[in-house]
């Protein structure tokens, strides 16, 4: 029983790491119809920037704070310069374009940081364990679950309860009409793209103490994040959240109870979902 609870907690942790990447991926698709294959690259970039900041300043919190900045900047530039001219051309060209960027990013990171695996230590306050009714849980894992839940809450509040969120929702539903109502849709798109990849970078930095920092982590997060978005429904924040928890749990529990089948499980689930509910299991409500 203890083993099961531990595994469920681990599943939640990997689900939260996934959510940090999938949230932006889903929002960017919802608002711009852009499938950002380079999203995992920003996750990786965040982890490496966080690593360097921590080595330089010695502060984990500074690393979390500064890790998203380069991604925000690069994301804004990438959207303006490269993706914008392609809006008229449709999904597949954007897939190809951002796929090209995954090559550039992984090589640039290897250039700047080398291709070894680095580990990141957690700050003293989050080091160690807590006992929850006889179950030993590392504090940092609880912190990560907290960060994921907090981010989900903040994103939900921003999108559902603020004027900015209303503008985003309006543009998702009907961009030309939103533009006609005086909303600056292009600016909104740039901002959402930058914010989305910024969150992914934060995810990379916050996940680093658990999964390490290495080139190749971009693809390792990208494929499951895509599965999450596909299962949860493209463009749906709640879909990304529940999809992440689902994939995180399925993968972790699969690894411990059905070793040898864990890889199959997630892919099979995705194929079945795509074929039976192509719009996703947790589809965003539409008027």
């Amino acid at each position: 029983m203890h083993f099961l609870i531990t595994q469920v907690l681990n599943g939640l942790v990997s689900g939260m790491i996934l959510f940090l990447t999938a949230a932006g991926l889903s929002l960017i698709f919802g608002l711009m119809n852009v499938v950002n294959v380079a999203h995992g690259s920003f996750f990786m970039l965040g982890a490496f920037v966080g690593l360097s900041v921590q080595q330089f300043t010695g502060s984990f919190w500074a690393a979390l704070l500064l890790a998203p900045l380069p991604a925000l900047l690069l994301g804004a530039v990438m959207e303006r310069v490269f993706i914008r001219p392609l809006y008229r051309r449709g999904h597949l060209d954007q897939v190809l374009l951002t796929f090209g960027f995954t090559f550039v990013f992984v090589d640039a990171v290897r250039w700047l940081w080398g291709s070894g695996i680095s580990s990141v230590s957690v700050p003293p306050v989050l080091d160690g364990i807590v006992r929850l009714g006889g179950i030993v849980v590392p504090k940092y894992r609880l912190f990560l679950i907290f960060v994921g839940l907090l981010l989900a809450l903040v994103l939900w509040l921003v999108i559902e309860r603020t004027r900015l969120g209303a503008m985003v929702r309006a543009s998702v539903d009907d961009a030309p009409t939103a533009e006609g109502m005086g909303i600056n849709v292009p600016l909104l798109q740039s901002s959402v793209f930058a914010a989305g990849v910024g969150i992914a970078a934060l995810g990379g930095a916050v996940a680093a103490p658990i999964i390490g920092v290495y080139t190749g982590m971009d693809i390792e997060i990208l494929i499951p994040a895509f599965i999450v978005v596909v299962i949860g429904g493209m463009g749906s924040l709640s879909g990304a959240f529940f999809g992440s928890v689902f994939v995180g749990l399925a993968d972790t529990l699969g690894r411990s109870y059905l070793p040898g089948l864990s890889l199959f499980l997630v892919y099979v689930v995705m194929i079945v979902v795509l074929l039976t509910r192509p719009a996703g299991l947790f589809v965003a409500r539409r008027s």
């Binding site: 897939v95 494929i223 890889l263 892919y267 194929i271």
Partner: protein, 307 residues
């Protein structure tokens, strides 16, 4: 003049082993094999409008068939090649039947998922596949009395297969069937309204593409004499997409040229810097941005020829 250009190009290629060293012949053979692979994907991307991100599955499956059948059961390489093509074709029917039910991004994801399933299977079934370590020790068959161990013989086998594939695929896309594929790419709804069974044609296209990918994979198995999960990696599916777009989707010959550009660039650039990925990524980005018709597509445009 232009009528003889393909013949001249083929003749030039056929004479290449006379001037190239062993290494050059090996690289060129790899280019020919991947050219067939890229052309098979072009049938999907360029003609039927299906962006598959799992094409490595059919390539890898066939390569595995050739090597494992020979190493474990002593099956002759030619028989293995035949078995590989049949296996890939059958698997393409299965994957195609499932994945054409969705389109666009979902199609991309389903094909990727199937390829990942095959990849995971090869990874886990270590007794047969050798997992990540791979499986070597293929005994290559003979062709007209000369073993395929001879690089030049292997080159001419790949060359003959490429010429046959170019001929067959160009015939196919010029035939009424090719027009149906293009029609589906341009406007599936209208083709449906015209009475074409769109899904059946999509499946047919997917199956033919799988068969040619199987041919390429089988040749790759014979050429390498060794197979590992690297051949099934998702990045192989990605590389071949790059080859198609770089060369020019919807031109058959273009993706073959794209394959050569990709592999030669990788070979040349990686000899003087470790950062060939940066370059290939940048070139690909530039291609998508300013040259979406690809290198060969641009040449055809400039010379004013229809595809």
């Amino acid at each position: 003049m232009t009528r003889f250009a393909p013949l001249a190009a083929a003749a030039l290629l056929a004479l290449a082993p006379a001037v190239l060293g062993n290494y050059g012949i090996g690289l060129l053979t790899e280019c020919l094999i991947f050219a067939i692979f890229a052309m098979s994907l072009d049938l999907l991307i360029g003609y039927t409008g299906l962006l598959s991100f799992g094409h490595a599955a059919f390539f890898g499956l066939s390569a595995y068939a050739v090597v494992t059948l020979n190493v474990h059961l002593g099956v002759n390489g030619w028989l293995g090649l035949g078995a590989g093509i049949v296996l890939s074709t059958m698997f393409a029917v299965l994957v195609g039947a499932v994945s054409i039910r969705v389109s666009g991004i979902a199609f991309l994801m389903v094909t990727l998922a199937f390829a990942q399933l095959v990849f995971s299977a090869a990874l886990k079934w270590r007794d047969v596949t050798g997992g990540t370590d791979g499986l070597g020790g293929l005994v290559r068959p003979r062709l007209f009395g000369s073993s395929l161990d001879n690089r030049v013989t292997m080159f001419y086998l790949a060359f003959a297969c490429l010429v046959a594939s170019v001929w067959a695929l160009r015939r196919l896309v010029a035939a009424p069937l090719g027009s149906v594929f293009i029609g589906i790419k341009e406007n599936a709804a209208r083709m449906h309204a015209l009475g074409y069974k769109v899904q059946r044609f999509r499946l047919l296209s997917f199956t033919i593409a799988g068969a040619f990918a199987g041919l390429a994979g089988g040749l790759y198995g014979l050429f390498n004499g060794y197979i590992s999960t690297d051949a099934l990696n998702w990045s192989v599916s990605g590389d071949v997409v790059i080859m198609v777009i770089l060369g020019g989707a919807g031109t058959i010959v273009g993706p073959a040229i794209g394959a050569a550009i990709f592999l030669v660039m990788k070979d040349v650039v990686s000899s003087w810097t470790d950062h060939w990925m940066f370059l290939i990524g940048a070139v690909f980005i530039a291609c998508v941005m300013v040259l979406p018709q690809g290198v060969w597509g641009a040449v055809l445009q400039v010379t004013g020829r229809r595809r």
